[in-house]
Amino acid sequence: MRLSFACLVGNFAGWVSRISGRGRGETLRGRTILAIDPRALIKLSKGRELVLVSGTNGKTTTTAYLVRMLEAATGELVSTSKYGANMSAGIATALAQGPRNRLVVLECDELYLPSMAQDLQPKVIVLLNLSRDQLHRTGEVRKVANLWRDTFVTDDVTLVIDRDDPFLEFAAGSAGHVLRVSFGGRRHPDAATCPNCLKLLDWGSGDYLCSCGLGSQLAQVRGDQRLRGPARNAVLAIEAARLMGAIVPIELATELTENAPDRISNFEIGGHSIATRLAKNPESWREALAQVEAKCVILSVNARGIDGRDTSWLWDIDYSALIGKKVICTGDRRLDVAYRVKVQGVVEVATTETFEAAIAQAGSGPVEGIASYTAFQELAAAQLGIHARQGGRP
């Protein structure tokens, strides 16, 4: 009774938020549901089969892959959050949409994963990676790995992990069921020391094995070493789908592993179509920079809450892919990124206050964009006619 009322009021609040142009209303809807029925998450997930997807990079795309896979394999509708809302409120909204759908795939913020795993009792949890991100909020990478290790101590859930990430191997160390996938040959930039015993980690030829035993468990699945991040995540999603009893059609599996779509959007701004990649931490910037083809690139960087308030990490990235190109920097922290690429050796660097002004300055040739989290959200929202500042004050 209470839950039905909560969902009804939540729907109304979400609708008001949408029609008043404040946003998609997903978060407000979820917050309202949880305010009226604090046990809504437990109730809404009862009797359903859930997969949670967490990690620093690739949560939203991997969740979308898994939804496509499960829908293609079962013919059923799968409940999910489409826009990357991955804390309690967004998850409540996703669960309340299609409450009779048996299958649910949800992405989950790293710090919320312990409580969500407890409340939602998922069947499978996919752990993609752990790397530096929002250090002001999450603290050290090892802190998150420790939190997860303390969470996964039961055998009623199966973890699907990329075991090449020592933080994930450590996090899964006490879990009952772990499916390890390995691609090999990738040194983790944040794991110079072992997350378990803190000794220097021996990376040998690109794979780690510590004298304390971390890394000694063999992977059950081996993927192609040449795969890029999104394709590797598609392999993890295929394994998760299989654990959910779904056989992914071969055409879809091939499409996603051979040509995995990035978190990339074509924004229509000022009569131009700008292919823009979301890059929110060093790992995703490296992926995005490796893909840039245009001669002119717009970099948009903010440092509001979810972006990480410290922009020092901009100096962890090698921008040599931009040398010889025209680079226009925008966003709240355009000067930080402009100076960074200048020191890297990019000659033609400009700054503009807005993304629109950057496009105007770009000229007529092809232009690509790379945007930090809230900058990307703002561009995405503007496409829907919403012109609101995303992510709070800097």
Binding site: R132, L135, H136, G139, E140, V141, R142, D190, A192, T193, C194, P195, L198, K199, L200, R309, D310, T311, S312, W313, L314, W315, D316, L335, D336, A338, Y339, R340, K342, V343, V349
Partner: protein, 235 residues
């Protein structure tokens, strides 16, 4: 003579982007046509003792202890500093050159003893946010950075701070931020610190090569000034 900048254990102490300090020093030296070389020291290598400026950055607790043990066993950094080399250290790097600090399990361990500072864990929440300080040497403008640390650091009686805190926490004792002792600087400022405070980068360069020719780097100056105005509008 070639100016030698030595970046120590960037793999272990590179969590907070402080490796950018080395790149800025190289950039500002090259702009003045000073021959410059950046030496990258990784675990397993001997620390050279002939460098001019040594750099240590911030990192997590485990890697901090690992770096401390490597430096202690090597001894090269202590020798170089005794011979007058400059040393710029940030956060975990600042803590480990002190007399004592918390180990990976919170126990008190001895540091390299290059400066007399003592770092402790208290019940205070982690210090996270923008930091602004008034440098103790008057020719420098306000310094800004981003701090993110658990430990708090008390200066020994002979030690001078890098600056006095105007915004943020800094060392967490007596309103001080960092340490400045001869050619040795310790700070809690990330940003990286020498990116956001180009005048401080020049102090280090001058300590190694003497008087510097004037150099204006428009983006560096604009960034430093934007941060100062945003974080301390009274300046």
């Amino acid at each position: 003579m070639t100016l030698t900048i030595v970046r120590l254990y960037h793999d272990l102490l590179g969590t907070y982007g402080d490796q950018g300090n080395a790149e800025v020093l190289v950039h500002r030296a090259k702009a003045r046509e000073i021959p410059v070389e950046l030496v990258e020291v990784t675990p397993g290598m001997t620390v050279p003792t002939s460098g001019d400026i040594y750099l240590l950055g911030g990192g997590e607790d485990g890697p901090q202890t690992a770096a401390l043990e490597l430096l202690r066993a090597d001894g090269g950094l202590n020798s170089a500093v005794t011979s007058g080399a400059a040393l710029f250290t940030v956060c975990a790097g600042f803590q480990l050159i002190g007399s004592s600090l918390p180990g990976a399990d919170g126990e008190t361990i001895s540091g390299l003893g290059i400066v007399d500072v003592h770092t402790v864990y208290t019940s205070a929440p982690r210090s996270v946010g923008e930091l602004v300080c008034q440098p103790t040497r008057s020719h420098l403008p306000l310094l800004t950075g981003f701090e993110n640390h658990q430990g708090l650091t008390e200066l020994g009686p002979e030690m001078q701070p890098l600056g006095m805190v105007k915004r943020g926490i800094g060392n967490g004792f007596a309103g001080a931020e960092g340490v400045w002792h001869g050619n040795i600087i310790g700070t809690y400022m990330h940003g990286p610190a020498l990116v956001r405070n180009p005048e401080l980068a020049d102090v280090l360069l001058a300590s190694a090569v003497g008087d510097l020719v004037e150099f204006h780097d428009p983006y560096a100056d604009a960034l430093a000034s934007e941060r100062r105005k945003t974080l301390w509008p009274h300046s």
